[in-house]
């Protein structure tokens, strides 16, 4: 299986690569090249940092066009992690309103800091539906590692799983070939390895 991690200069890719190696993936490619993205069996869109800056990097590298083609036209499975999950939404209010890739219906907003420590950092429990592919064979309310100041909301049916911090927000979504996780599966111990394995198997 050829897994391409989309590199647009935002975030620690080493731990994702390390998790894929642990699972025994034969071809792990870190790239910002259109041809590599279009040759992938599965894609991973990682990322930490600013939404607006990420979109600038993505557009400068023309990755928006390649991702659109790979994900929306060729239906290649993709897993967005943390910022990568948010980038596939319609927009974010981080640094003013910025358009995202628009693959999934939803918006990204700041945590209201009313008596709440922001960023939301640490392991927190995720509540998912029984028929979820990402959490197949896992115990409901499993722990995953979060570290973020912005969260995603959506009124659409995108098979969302939820996490609670002050109020409920979207911990993950799964729509046909597209999956996104607000938490970092690659930093979530055994639960995270299991989830990445589930993505690679069932998407």
């Amino acid at each position: 299986m050829r897994v391409v991690i989309v590199d647009y200069n935002m975030g620690n890719i080493k731990s994702i690569t390390s998790a894929l190696k642990y699972l025994g993936i034969s071809e792990i490619i870190v790239s910002n090249q259109g041809a590599e993205i279009l040759s992938a069996d599965k894609l991973i869109l990682p990322g930490v940092g600013s939404f607006a800056k990420a979109m600038v990097n993505i557009k400068n590298l023309k990755l928006d066009k390649y991702l659109e083609e790979a994900v929306m036209k060729e239906s290649k499975p993709i897993l967005g992690i943390c910022l990568g999950m948010q980038l596939m939404c319609e927009s974010s209010e981080e640094d003013g309103l910025t358009d995202g890739l628009g693959f999934v219906t939803g918006k990204v907003e700041r945590f209201s800091s009313d008596g709440l420590k922001v960023p939301h950092v640490g392991f927190n429990q995720v509540c998912f539906e029984d028929n979820s592919r990402l959490y197949h064979d896992m115990v409901n309310m499993s722990d995953f590692y979060f570290t973020h100041s912005f969260k995603m909301q959506s009124d659409a049916r995108i098979n969302q799983a939820y996490c609670d911090y002050g109020s409920e927000f979207i911990a993950s979504y799964e729509v046909s070939n597209i999956a996104g996780a607000q938490f970092h599966p690659e930093l979530s111990q055994i639960n995270g390895l299991k989830l990445i394995g589930n993505f690679l198997k069932s998407f």
Binding site: S15, L23, S26, P119, D143, G197
Partner: protein, 268 residues
């Protein structure tokens, strides 16, 4: 519900890992020693995070530190924070490229506000841990060697104004003693801190970790005590914390053998 965290801090100096006592370092062993006595692939399952600090005195040897970091964190699937001597964007970038998920800043918080703000802008608040070294009524930088003339509440304000993600509060007096955290200090400041708070300095056994985490606004306890938590010490401590009702994350280590190389040879 957001869980509380146990963090292990490794103190690195010129190729060796150290036991620190009141910020005086005692060389314990190199990375091979560490692998023998603290097999990170195993003990990581007793931890929520790992912090690795470069306490090398004169020449920080950032490249070699980064290389050690990179070796250390292979096959460890928990967040890693690294720091010590970060003075430029390039230093930070090198640590992020070698496996750090977050960086820890100490002296830069006082001497280079621009750098801190730039790092927050590039990597986001959640990637920046601000470390405060406290002794008596004073704050210190440069591995505890330089005293700042600023009181703790002002310093916290100064740090939070730069939008850092978390605060790591270390007591130099309690550091490495194994006598327990400086609970008086911590209770005094928790109300002033609106960022997630990690406390450090003094933990010698699981009761100290429990005592720290029972304070409402404390989000994480850190220990750097290589001697007291050697072997299966951390695993034991985590078990005791669970039993004491501390709200810690759970995972099933028995699932691991089924995941290793699961796609190997059948992922075509």
């Amino acid at each position: 519900m957001l869980r509380k965290r146990i963090i292990f801090t490794l103190i690195y100096e010129n190729g060796f890992f150290n036991q620190s006592r009141n910020f005086r370092l005692q060389k314990v062993g190199d990375i091979r020693w560490l692998e023998r006595n603290y097999k990170f692939q195993d003990i990581a399952f007793s931890l929520d995070e790992l912090i690795v600090l470069n306490a090398s005195k004169s020449d920080k040897g950032m490249a070699e530190f980064a290389k050690t970091l990179s070796e250390l964190v292979d096959d460890v699937f928990i967040p890693i924070a690294a720091g010590g001597g970060i003075r430029s964007l390039e230093d930070a970038e090198m640590l992020f490229a070698n496996g750090a998920d977050k960086i820890v800043l100490n002296s830069a918080l006082h001497i280079d506000k621009n750098l801190v703000e730039k790092l927050v802008e590039i990597y986001g608040s959640q990637s920046i841990v601000a470390s405060i070294d406290h002794k008596g009524h004073d704050e210190f930088i440069s591995d505890g060697t330089q005293k700042l003339n600023i009181c703790l509440d002002e310093y916290i304000q100064h740090i939070e104004d730069m939008n850092v993600g978390e605060i790591y509060l270390n007591s130099i007096e309690k550091d490495g003693t194994g006598f327990g955290y400086d609970i008086g200090l911590i209770e005094k400041v928790t109300g002033l801190i609106s960022s997630p708070l990690i406390i450090a300095g003094g933990a010698g056994n699981e009761r100290h970790l429990i005592e720290g985490l029972e304070i409402e606004n404390v989000n994480a306890v850190a220990t750097a005590n290589l001697f007291n938590f050697i072997g299966d010490g951390l695993q034991y401590a985590r078990g005791e914390l669970h039993k004491a009702g501390i709200d810690l994350a759970k995972w099933n280590v028995d699932m691991l053998p089924d995941l290793k190389y699961i796609f190997h040879g059948r992922d075509k």
